[in-house]
Structures are given as C-alpha cells and as structure tokens.
C-alpha cells in the first residue's frame, strides 16, 4: 500500500494546493480524507499491536 500511497498522495496534494491557490476549497476535502484514513486506521493498528504474538 505504501508505494501506491506515496505515488498518489504527492500529485493529489499538488493538485489540491493548485486549487487552493485559485480559491477552490477542494484541498479541504483532500486534507479531511487523508486525516480520516489515519484516524480510522489508528485504533485498528493499536488493537493489532496489543494482540501481537511474541516469542
């Protein structure tokens, strides 16, 4: 997932920034989507770490 994220995220952000310069609020949607993705994943990751099998 990581290379795909980096490949997509960069251009999307530049595009969003370009829109912001022209006064469009599209960057807010992009920012919200990125933050939501992280916030949804955080408890899932925490649960996975808590159930980690060690040995």
């Amino acid at each position: 997932v990581f290379p795909l994220t980096i490949l997509c995220q960069g251009p999307v952000v530049v595009w969003a920034l370009d829109n912001a310069k022209r006064g469009n609020a599209i960057f807010l949607v992009v920012a919200l989507a990125m933050a939501m993705f992280g916030l949804i994943m955080l408890p899932i990751a925490r649960r996975a770490w808590l159930n980690l099998e060690v040995g």
């Binding site: 795909l4 919200l32 992280g38 994943m41 899932i44 770490w49 808590l50 060690v54």
Partner: protein, 420 residues
C-alpha cells in the same frame, strides 16, 4: 563427492544474485518507463539544441548512477561481508568480475552511449559518470557522508547552465581535467574492489546498513553486527556527540503515566526526531534553494521555482508519517524483550504508539518550519498567510494519513521479518 564448479557456472550464479531482487527490478522497470523513457524521447529528435538535449542527461544518467550506486554497494556488501566470502573456494574472482562489469557499465558504457546518442562530449560525460558514481559507492559502503556530498555536488552542477557546459559541451575544452577525473574515479573503484576482496569481520565496514530485510542487514551474526556498528559510530564524531547528548537525557523511570512511559520509550528509536528533521530541512531545503536559484527556467514567471518548493512540500507531507511507521516497524523485533519491562501490555503499546506519534509531530514541526523559511527565501511573494495555512493543513493531514499505510500494522512483511 560434490562436483567442483567451474568459473562460468560461478559467474552465472553471481549474475543471478543481481537479478533476483524482484521488487528492485520492478522499481527499475517503473523508473525506466516513467522517468527515463520520456526524457529519451524528448532528447531524441535531430537538430535539437545542445541545452535541451543535455538536460535529459541529469535524469537519464545522473539519477540512474546515483540510485544505481546506492543499490549496488549494499548488494556486494551482502556478498563480501559474510563468512562464505572467506570460506568458499574461488569466491572473490567471479564476484569481483561481475561487479567490475556492472560498474564499467555504469561509468563507461552508459555515459558513452548517452553522449553519442544526444551528441555530447564523450570524455566529459564519462568523467561526470565517475564523479557521481565513485564517491557515492564509498558513501554507500562506509556509511560516511563526504563521498555522497561530492557525488551530489557533481550531479547538481549538471542542473545549471554553467555546470552543464563544463561537463557536457563538446566545445568545452576541459579534456585534461576530465581525463584526470576519470583516472581518479578508476583508482577509487579499484581501491573499493580491493577493500571488498579483503573485507574481514574485524573491519567496521563489514556490516551493511542498507540491506533487505533491514533487521538482518548483511546477514552477519547479530552481536557481531552491533559491535561493528558501534565501532563505525566512534569514527563519526558528530553522530557520536549527538547520540551521547541525547542519551544523557534518559534519566529515571517515574510512575506509570502515559507521557512518562512514552518519553522513555522514545529513546529506543534509532534517531532523534528533531535532529532527523533538521537533516531533512538542510538536505531538501538546500536542494529547493539550489533549484530555485541556479537551475534551468529559474525565472519566477515560468512557475518552475514554485515547482521546486512543491517537491519539498511532498517531502514535508510524506516523511513524518512514513518515519512514524518506520520507527514502529523497526521496533518490532525488540517488542518481545521490552514486554518484560515493568509495564502492562496496554501501557507498553500505548506508550510506544504515543512515542512514535510524538516524534512524528516533532519532525513535522521542524520540517514545516524549514518549508516555510525555504519557500519564503525561494518565492517570498507567493507565500501568503492562506497559502501557508493550506500547506500546514495538507502536510498535517498527510502526516496523520501516511503511517496508516506504512508499517503501523505489525503483521506486515516489513515487521515480521525482524524476529530472530
């Protein structure tokens, strides 16, 4: 009794070790397709002005050599920094021969073909290839910065009109210096090959910092590897001083508060987020300022200057989250030992996540402060309060979103390979 292997069979086996890193192969294929092919097409038409053709060299040749050197050095370190290099009969011969052929391909064949294809000075192009490759091989081998700086310096000069003419113009008239650079490059590569052939466990460059999977690096025994890493650290006064100063702050462990636990666990990450952020600022800030001041099309009207800043913006966006995940993934092999600490599992995991998030936040602050300063220095007139706020919003949300996709989940390939 096993049949003795002949030289040709050994050569074939060595070549196989170069072509069986499938992900690296896929990356190279993608790189050729996405970055190099358009540059070749752009430079291919006849009667193209020298300036236009020479620009493609920075991508086709410079980037290929930079990344090629960074990939080749750990590859051969994994071969020679291993007991089998000393124990296997006739090990050095075929391995050195294949390596010499690869380096000759990088430094002689590729620049020569490029020079002929786009009508540049062959000697200058080969000298440039040596100036980029040989020092970077040393940096990737010894993990010391100086060679890399020389290599990057040579690479970046080709992005300016002056540097491009000096290296690549057929009418340049610097043949004598170019030949001297080529000879120096050949000597450096020869020294490197000699060092590889005589690499022994007692030497501090026996280990490799950059091998996949990370935790096994060159495949040497772990405690030996730690000893070698510690020995190499002693030779780097700045890093040693920074590490010492940082570790002095550890102090005692008081109470079971989340922040106290997180503060303590933060010392288990390889690097200090603040220092790592500072390096990133210097590195990408310098690059952005260089591109905005000296590179082609550096007039503000063309928008290229702002483009240089958006490259930094992508770094500011991706790195904090990526490092957050990376720190956690590298911690995975040690979790079994750290679970013996006098903490409950919930306290430990929450503390670890808080430590990673806190470090990422510090890194984000440093990198964004640098981004604002660099953007102001490069394109001050375009840096308004709303644009700054937009940048912060985008890099901030990206920093939250990126670790989710990179290694935070502990069952990924990256982390599971670490248990030993």
């Amino acid at each position: 009794m096993a049949k003795p292997t002949n030289f040709t069979t050994q050569l074939g086996a060595v070549v196989l070790t170069y072509v069986t890193h499938y992900w690296v192969m896929a990356g190279i294929a993608a790189w050729l397709l996405i970055a190099v092919a358009p540059q070749i097409f752009a430079a291919a038409p006849d009667n193209l002005a020298f300036n236009k053709a020479a620009r493609s060299v920075s991508v086709v040749l410079g980037m290929t050599l930079l990344f090629g050197s960074i990939l080749v050095a750990p590859q051969v370190k994994a071969q020679f920094g291993h007991p089998r290099a000393a124990l296997t009969p006739n090990f050095a011969g075929p391995h050195l021969l294949v390596l010499a052929a690869v380096v000759a391909g990088f430094t002689l064949f590729l620049p020569f073909v490029t020079a002929i294809a786009v009508d540049l000075a062959p000697l200058g192009t080969i000298a440039l290839a040596f100036a980029v490759t040989a020092p970077m091989l040393f940096t990737a081998h010894t993990n010391r910065l100086l060679g890399g700086l020389i290599s990057l310096g040579a690479f970046y000069t080709t992005l300016s009109t002056w540097g491009m003419n000096w290296w690549l113009s057929p009418a340049g008239g610097h043949e004598f210096i170019h030949v001297a650079i080529i000879l120096m490059g050949v000597a450096l590569v020869a020294v490197w090959l000699y060092r590889l052939a005589h690499l022994r466990e007692e030497m501090d460059d026996y280990q490799s910092f950059m091998m996949w999977p990370q935790s096994r690096k060159a495949g040497t025994e772990v405690s030996e590897q730690r000893r070698a890493v510690a020995a190499s650290l002693r030779r780097q006064p700045l890093i040693a001083w920074l590490t010492d100063e940082r570790l002095k702050q550890i102090g005692g462990f008081h109470g079971h508060r989340l922040l106290a636990v997180a503060r303590l666990l933060k010392f288990g990450f390889q690097h200090q987020a603040f220092v790592q952020g500072l390096w990133t600022v210097i590195w990408f800030g310098g690059m952005t300022l260089f591109l905005s001041r000296f590179a082609f099309d550096n007039n503000k009207a063309s928008g290229a200057t702002f483009g240089a800043s958006t490259f930094y913006l992508q770094v500011a966006l991706g790195f904090p989250g990526m490092l957050c995940g990376e720190w956690l993934a590298r911690r995975r092999p040690r979790t079994s030992a750290e679970m013996l600490l006098p903490l409950s599992r919930v306290e430990y995991i929450d503390g670890l996540l808080a430590a990673a998030i806190g470090s990422a936040a510090t890194f984000w602050c440093v990198v964004n402060f640098g981004l604002a300063v660099v953007t102001y220095a490069a394109v001050g007139d375009q840096l308004t309060l709303p644009s700054l706020a937009t940048m912060l919003l985008l890099t901030g949300s990206g920093a939250i979103g990126t670790p989710a996709s990179h290694c935070v989940h502990p069952f990924g390939r990256h982390s599971s390979s670490g248990s030993q």
